[in-house]
Amino acid sequence: MHKQNDETSSLFNTLAAIRTRSFQQKEQAIHLAEQMIQHQDLSYIPQIFACFPIDVYYLHELDADMRRLSIICEIVAAEAMLPGAEPIFLKNVFSFRDLIHKYIYITFLLRRIDLHMPKQALEEVAAALGGDQISICALRKITECEIFANPGYVYEQALKYL
């Protein structure tokens, strides 16, 4: 067997050491996100972010859903600054799972624009973005944070559907 190098050992030892705590903090972040959704109360956002640091790591560096949650919190906070101050991202969202699904679904829709998918696939994009469930803040943040070949084009096209 090959001997592990120090760097590899260090990485996995660190992960093992923070494993329990990071799972607990993720559970806590999910619980707070559920409270935010249930009460439509954005004052939970600082508490959610307070769950993120774990020693030298952050939850959003270790877990894809926590990464998405941190971006969603930024979207919701930005939406609160808009006229009307309505947390649009929380519309028709009833659980943490719904919250993450909505984020992923918007990403999928935007990717269809990026990839110039056929008309039928884009009709669903038009219908979804044309409703009142997705804000300009969400479009801007997701095109910034997710991978698109041409984010500028995606954002411009998506705005046309809003």
């Binding site: 996995f12 093992a16 270790l62 877990d63 894809a64 990403t107 999928f108 056929p118 991978i147 070949a149």
Partner: protein, 229 residues
């Protein structure tokens, strides 16, 4: 079971309908090579990746099987034509991947060293997706190991359900199993990306070390065939 040489089967273990639906949307856009048929086997909430893939493998009579993640969206329209072309060009090619390691790192972490492939990335130069088509002259890289995001096979070899009961290292193990049977594993030169991998940009590492250690014991590099090159 005799295999149908003109059949291609997609095999997808999934746990989220949302991803599966999007994945299938992209599969529906693919051109099917003349004379071929396609099939789809989905496995929901499999106990492990190897068990899910093994069950599907036993159920399908397709010569060519494409084991892929729910979060992989194939964007290259002639993907199937190219796979068949590559497999038919060299019967010793047992498996094709989209990403692979030319030389498997001695720490058994595929991503710790240089990998071959082409990733859909931000600010890519624009290109005509319909016009691009792979040709064998573009090249093939022989690799030690491929990433499990997509593994296309021309032969059925058992998945190691006996010691891999999780979600990690099934790809490393299967790559070694193919090599130990004398097959080559290749990654085609992709002038433009063939897929999008929507994995949330993070690799889950919680159980990684456990399966890494198992594979280090099961597949000592010194005992493996001397590369595939």
């Amino acid at each position: 079971m005799p295999l149908d040489d003109k059949k291609i089967c997609f095999i997808i273990c999934y746990n989220q309908e949302l991803y599966l639906k999007e994945c299938l949307l992209y599969l529906q856009q693919l051109h099917v090579p003349d004379g071929f048929s396609t099939d789809l086997l989905t496995i929901v909430d499999a106990p492990s990746m190897t068990e899910g893939y093994q069950a599907a493998m036993e159920e399908s009579d397709a010569r060519y099987k494409i084991y892929m993640h729910q979060d992989v969206f194939i964007i290259y329209p002639y993907f199937l034509d190219s796979l068949v072309q590559i497999f038919q060009s060299t019967p010793r090619i047992g498996m094709i991947g989209m990403v692979g390691s030319s030389v498997f790192p001695s720490d058994y972490m595929m991503w710790s060293d240089k990998r071959i492939g082409n990733i859909y990335h931000r600010d890519m130069p624009p290109y005509d997706r319909q016009a691009y088509r792979y040709d064998l002259s573009h090249g093939l890289s022989t690799v030690d190991c491929i990433d499990g995001l997509l593994m296309a096979t021309a032969y059925d070899l058992p998945w190691r359900t006996d010691f891999l009961d999780g979600w990690d290292f099934y790809d490393v193990s299967q790559s070694f199993e193919f090599r130990m049977q004398g097959y080559k594993i290749v990654v085609p030169e992709q002038h433009h990306p063939w897929y999008v991998h929507d994995d949330g940009m993070l690799l889950s590492l919680w159980d990684y070390d456990k399966y890494r250690r198992i594979c280090m014991e099961r597949y000592p590099l010194s005992l493996l065939p001397p590369g595939t090159h």
